[in-house]
């Protein structure tokens, strides 16, 4: 913690959990879809479900989906900006009894028929935890450069991914594998100590049994508090 954690961060009010954290979850969903968003369905759970309107959490999620940073003054008018960008959006509530109180689930549809579903929680101080991507359980904070790699659960896939990263001098800070059933769809969540070269990213997508690669570089904003 340094002095700019006390005098700072610069942020959009009213609170880091309801604004900054929500913007970041929206931004992650935007990156996971990739390409232009045409429709967003946002489901608020727990405490978010009760208070999202009063806190402007709905505007913050949309701001993130539009690619705004958490200190962007346009967040207040994000409904209008989303309409201008041709994004259809709907907010509703959902019951997720075991989830963190500040949880939101986002379903996105994109231009070329692409779709994605992201669930995450605003865990305090503007920090987030993404817990589900496209129905697959995960856990990452977005504080490190993160790779999400859906793949087929086959011998050697993890080794091929990690050796390719080693070839490019990319260090793995954290690794997580989720696999609902042996031999079927699985997902690697890999947090990196630094960025990854474009060429390595391209080669990753070509690896055998790798379905796709989503790369989420860190947000330039530091953490925040309520």
């Amino acid at each position: 913690m340094d002095i700019f954690d006390i005098i700072g961060p610069v942020m959009i009010g009213p609170s880091s959990s309801h604004t900054a954290g929500a913007v970041r979850i929206g931004a992650v969903a935007r990156k996971i879809l990739g390409g232009k968003i045409t429709r967003a369905e946002v489901f608020f759970a727990g405490s978010f479900a009760e208070t999202f309107r009063g806190h402007g959490t709905d505007k913050a999620i949309l701001g993130g989906l539009l690619g705004m940073q958490s200190d962007d003054e346009r967040i207040r008018d994000s409904f209008r900006h989303a309409e201008e960008a041709g994004i259809e959006f709907v907010f509703t509530t959902i019951s997720l009894p075991r989830a963190h109180p500040n949880t939101v689930k986002i379903h996105l549809a994109g231009e070329n028929g692409g779709e994605c579903a992201v669930q995450g929680a605003s865990v305090g101080g503007g920090n987030i935890l993404i817990t589900d991507v496209n129905g697959m359980e995960t856990a990452f904070s977005g504080k490190a450069d993160t790779l999400i790699i859906p793949h087929r659960d086959m011998p050697g896939v993890i080794a091929s991914v990690s050796s390719l990263m080693a070839d490019y001098g990319v260090n793995i800070g954290n690794f997580r594998l989720n696999r609902p059933h042996k031999g079927f769809q699985a997902v690697m969540t890999v947090e990196l100590d630094g960025g990854i070269p474009d060429e390595a990213l391209r080669l990753l997508t070509r690896l055998k049994y790798v379905d796709s690669v989503v790369y989420l570089p860190v947000n330039r904003n530091g953490d925040a508090r309520c």
Binding site: I3, F4, D5, I7, V10, G54, H55, I75
Partner: protein
């Protein structure tokens, strides 16, 4: 390097260097962050500029919060400041700025957490009023942000600065303590006087609970920013008059932590007690969220 584990450490370091808490903290933070002093100063100056912009935008009174609960009171107070206010022009203007910035936060404006978003009006209100009303330099206000930041770091390290952990005393109370110390150094008071001011401000906010109506950062948070800046100004003036805190600042901070830990959950940001649980508080929640 400084540990920011006590105000006594800061006072000793500043006194031995025949300097101020602000200058000692600037030098130390540059070292700890690994940047030049000019860069760290420039970053803090950027924060002051965001604070000034928030005050200007807030004082227009044009913005209201998404809930409709707040907006426009800073402007009302600014008008009152022109007509021989009971609290004096300086205090009335500080109150107006504290309200305006806190209202701007509630209206999804761009603010600097100091130390939190809920308490973001207190510190800038005092510093901006010093510039406007006493002709203090912008540089002295930037340096005062280092004083405030150093005091806030100690409180965060020893106690806490979030309402969920320690109640409003940890948010608005910490902001008032930081502001009191900052005002003393801005008025060229000694490091020990800054610590005394912080102690007195925190003592006068001790026990304050966090009880936001409908869970929103509006009622009573916005007016508590006004209360916080008044408390800070009074504490700073007392310290500048040579009045000491009977209980040393570090013991006050520890007491604040203990009081926060003893507070029931219902009075720590859960919106289940205090003003949130009044008939009007409950009715407002119903009206806003259905």
């Amino acid at each position: 390097m400084l540990s920011y584990s006590s105000l006594a450490e800061l006072v000793v370091a500043a006194t031995e260097a025949k300097s101020s808490i602000a200058r000692v903290a600037l030098r130390d933070q540059a070292e700890q962050i690994g940047l030049g002093q000019e860069q760290v100063y420039a970053r803090m100056r950027d924060n002051l500029l965001v604070m000034r912009e928030a005050a200007i935008r807030g004082l227009t009174g044009e913005l209201h919060s998404p809930s409709g609960l707040s907006g426009g009171d800073g402007l009302k107070m600014e008008r009152r400041a022109q007509h021989a206010p009971l609290s004096g022009v300086f205090c009335a203007k500080a109150i107006a700025r504290a309200l305006a910035i806190a209202e701007y936060n509630a209206a999804m404006g761009r603010i600097v957490a100091a130390p939190t978003a809920g308490s973001c009006g207190i510190l800038p209100a005092a510093l901006l009023t010093m510039i406007e009303e006493t002709g203090a330099s912008e540089e002295s206000a930037v340096m005062a942000l280092f004083t405030a930041g150093a005091v806030g770091l100690v409180i965060a390290n020893v106690a806490c600065i979030s309402g969920a952990e320690g109640g409003c005393q940890a948010e608005c109370g910490s902001a008032a303590a930081m502001t009191a110390a900052a005002l003393v150094e801005m008025a060229e008071g000694a490091p020990q006087a800054a610590a005394d001011a912080a102690a007195v401000a925190l003592k006068n906010q001790m026990g304050l609970v966090c009880d936001p109506v409908a869970g929103l950062v509006e009622t009573p948070c916005i007016k508590r920013n006004a209360g916080g800046v008044m408390c800070a100004i009074a504490a700073a003036d007392m310290a500048l008059a040579g009045i000491k805190s009977v209980i040393p600042a570090d013991e006050v901070i520890e007491a604040m932590r203990a009081v926060g830990a003893a507070m029931p959950q219902s009075l720590r940001e859960t919106a289940r007690g205090g003003l949130a649980a009044t008939p009007t508080g409950i009715a407002l929640k119903q009206k806003i969220f259905g």
